[in-house]
């Protein structure tokens, strides 16, 4: 808590979880976001830009429901209604698809990027404002939609220089389906789901019967895709659960076919962050980088309640979190700055700029141009009609 004597805020202390991004980092981040957008566009995903905040009800419907407590609210003095600041853009894109773009042909491919804000960060991820970029493929429930977005995720990471990402596939609906099939109540289902999510073997020890055996097997299954599917394949599961596993198996077979080099793992129990999903989910990891770079999966875009043909549409997509992503990308190459002394020929200035140097022009004559160039952090200087490295 800032103390009264810290006011006025002369040291420019920022609120927790917010920060200024300066010079090279800011530029690199913009560069990365642009590369993501271009890659999304090359796969036919069109960019949409929803507003930073909107009426609270629109943000809270569908995928946003689970996030209600983590959104900033502000009262709109114009409409006298409550507005909320987005803390995830997925719901906004779903809203656009459901309303403004309801007559556009399906499947609809949309991309987005922008800042999101949340009330509280976590200890591991203290940022309260960060950028999110992603895509949504709306109006198809085919397995091929998963394959398209997983390959797009791989390519988009490759575009920004991340070559060794691994993709972790999960089935958030599997445990509830198993419990339903075995006739178990909601309480057991939730306990099993939680234990598998955090891989807590201690919690599973007290479970007897089929669910005990199945859940312990599922826990041991998480890992390389082949190993996981071999263990899952041996389980005798209720029909509904078996169907989910079969779908995953099909996707894995397709991925092996079209992208054999892809590092794929399976975690049948991963659940947190996939609460609103209705199919297979996935997370993107890079060795040595804390937390996931992004997440994806399938969910339902709820039909517009007021229109007479309100039908829910399946959507498949993923989001990347720029804070994690920036920890995983290669370092930016050094930028070449050249000092162009006062009175340098304009055509020459333009020439070196075209050659890839960034020009820092002297605005007045100096006694020692080289010293001035050093002072301004330039590695190069224009002297005697040529570029000289300092």
């Amino acid at each position: 808590m800032p103390r009264p004597e810290d006011e006025p805020n002369e040291t420019a202390l920022l609120p927790e979880g917010l920060h200024d991004t300066l010079a090279n980092d800011a530029e690199y981040q913009a560069d990365i976001v642009e590369k993501l957008r271009q890659c999304f566009a090359s796969y036919g995903y069109e960019r949409v830009v929803p507003p930073l905040l909107e009426f609270e009800e629109s943000l809270l419907c569908g995928p946003g429901k689970a996030q209600s407590r983590n959104m900033f609210r502000v009262m709109d003095p114009v409409s006298m209604r409550m507005m909320a600041v987005r803390n995830d853009m997925t719901g906004q894109v779903a809203r656009i698809a459901r309303t403004r773009l309801q007559n556009s042909p399906r499947p609809l491919r949309l991309s987005y990027s922008g800042s999101v804000l949340r009330v509280g960060g976590s200890q591991l991820r203290p940022e309260r404002e960060f950028q999110q970029a992603g895509i949504e493929l709306i109006g198809s429930d085919s397995g091929e939609a998963y394959v398209e977005i997983i390959l797009l995720a791989r390519d988009v990471l490759g575009t920004v220089g991340i070559k060794n990402a691994s993709i972790d596939l999960t089935m958030p609906l599997l445990v509830p389906a198993i419990c339903r099939g075995l006739g178990l109540d909601d309480k057991i289902s939730k306990a099993v789901r939680h234990a598998l999510n955090v891989k807590d073997i201690g919690e599973l020890d007290n479970l007897d019967g089929d669910i005990g055996e199945i859940s312990r097997q599922l826990l041991s299954a998480s890992g390389a895709a082949d190993k996981a599917m071999a263990i899952i394949g041996k389980l005798s599961l209720p029909a509904e659960a078996q169907k989910i596993c079969d779908e995953l198996k099909e996707i894995l077979a397709r991925l092996k076919d079209v992208a054999p080099e892809l590092n794929v793992t399976v975690d049948p129990g991963e659940y947190s962050g996939f609460e609103f999903q209705t199919g297979i989910g996935f997370s993107l990891f890079v060795k040595g980088v804390r937390g996931e770079l992004g997440r994806g999966g399938r969910y339902l875009v709820e039909g517009n309640g007021k229109s007479k043909d309100a039908v829910s549409e399946p959507a498949t997509g993923f989001s990347l979190y720029l804070d994690s992503l920036m920890r995983a990308v290669p370092k930016m190459t050094e930028i070449k700055y050249i000092y162009c002394p006062y009175n340098m020929n304009m055509p020459d200035v333009n020439k070196v700029r075209l050659e890839g140097y960034r020009t820092i022009c002297g605005l007045e004559p100096t006694k020692n141009d080289t010293a001035e160039a050093r002072r301004l952090n330039c590695q190069y200087i224009w002297q005697n009609e040529t570029v000289i490295k300092i």
């Binding site: 591991l124 920004v160 220089g161 691994s166 826990l219 890079v286 290669p330 370092k331």
Partner: protein, 236 residues
């Protein structure tokens, strides 16, 4: 598709770690360590000689596996090191895991050691006439403020926690507060300080824990270690 032209040199000076980076196993100092080491050694992980030398000032220890190093830190810090990925593996009690509730920690193996329980205790004299169902607010001295708050909130009681790092048993008799939440194994320490255990919150054992990202990206190595520890020690 775009080419990695401006700004990025692919493959050079990345901050991505190579697959050959050694893994770090964080072990808790103190009482639990004595119980853990036989399990670790039975799994074929032998630390360098300095590990058993109390005079050594080393903090990181090599093992017979060049890709596995051991660090020794306070039990609460094991969870933090592992959660942030600074250590990939660790051993921590579920009291510590529940207190932090880090989503980045997996606990795939129960080591079946370090048995005790986390309980609420109060002065014996007070416990005779106390009716917990009438509480709306309690003041509690504890090393586990988050866990305590959550436990009481579940039954509609607001817990005001005073964080202490040890000697919780002193707090009630000196008038710091009337109740404590602390680890109990035999109950002798409580009795000696005029306290009575009035409610068990949870049973505790030590768990082998794994960082979530490491679990996903280095699964084969980690599965092998888990299997060795589990099989050689006859654990589930």
């Amino acid at each position: 598709m775009t080419s990695p032209a401006s700004g990025i040199k692919p493959g050079q000076e990345t901050n991505q770690e190579s697959g050959q980076e050694p893994m770090i196993l964080a072990l808790p100092k103190g009482r639990i360590l004595e119980e853990v080491m036989p399990i670790i050694k039975a799994a074929g992980i032998i630390p360098e000689a300095d590990f058993d030398n109390p005079k050594s000032r080393k903090l990181t220890f090599g093992t017979n596996n060049p890709l596995l190093k051991i660090i020794r830190v306070r039990s609460f810090d094991v969870a933090t090191f592992v959660a942030f990925g600074a250590a990939h593996l660790g051993v921590a009690g579920n009291d510590v895991l529940l207190e932090f509730d880090y989503p980045e920690i997996y606990a795939p193996l129960d080591l079946n050691i370090g048995h005790c329980r986390l309980s609420v205790a109060e002065l014996t004299a007070l416990s005779i006439n106390d009716d917990p169902s009438r509480w709306s607010h309690v003041r509690v001295a504890t090393k586990y403020p988050n866990l305590t708050r959550k436990h009481f909130a579940k039954r509609g009681v607001q817990a005001e926690c005073i964080k202490l790092n040890g000697a919780m048993e002193l707090a009630p008799s000196l008038g710091l507060c009337r109740r404590i939440v602390d680890l109990v194994s035999t109950g002798d320490t409580l009795k000696a300080n005029g306290l009575a255990e009035i409610e068990k919150i949870i049973d505790i054992t030590s768990r082998f824990i794994v960082n979530r990202t490491a679990f996903k990206t280095r699964n084969e190595e980690i599965s092998r270690i888990l299997q060795d520890i589990g099989a050689r020690n006859d654990l589930k």
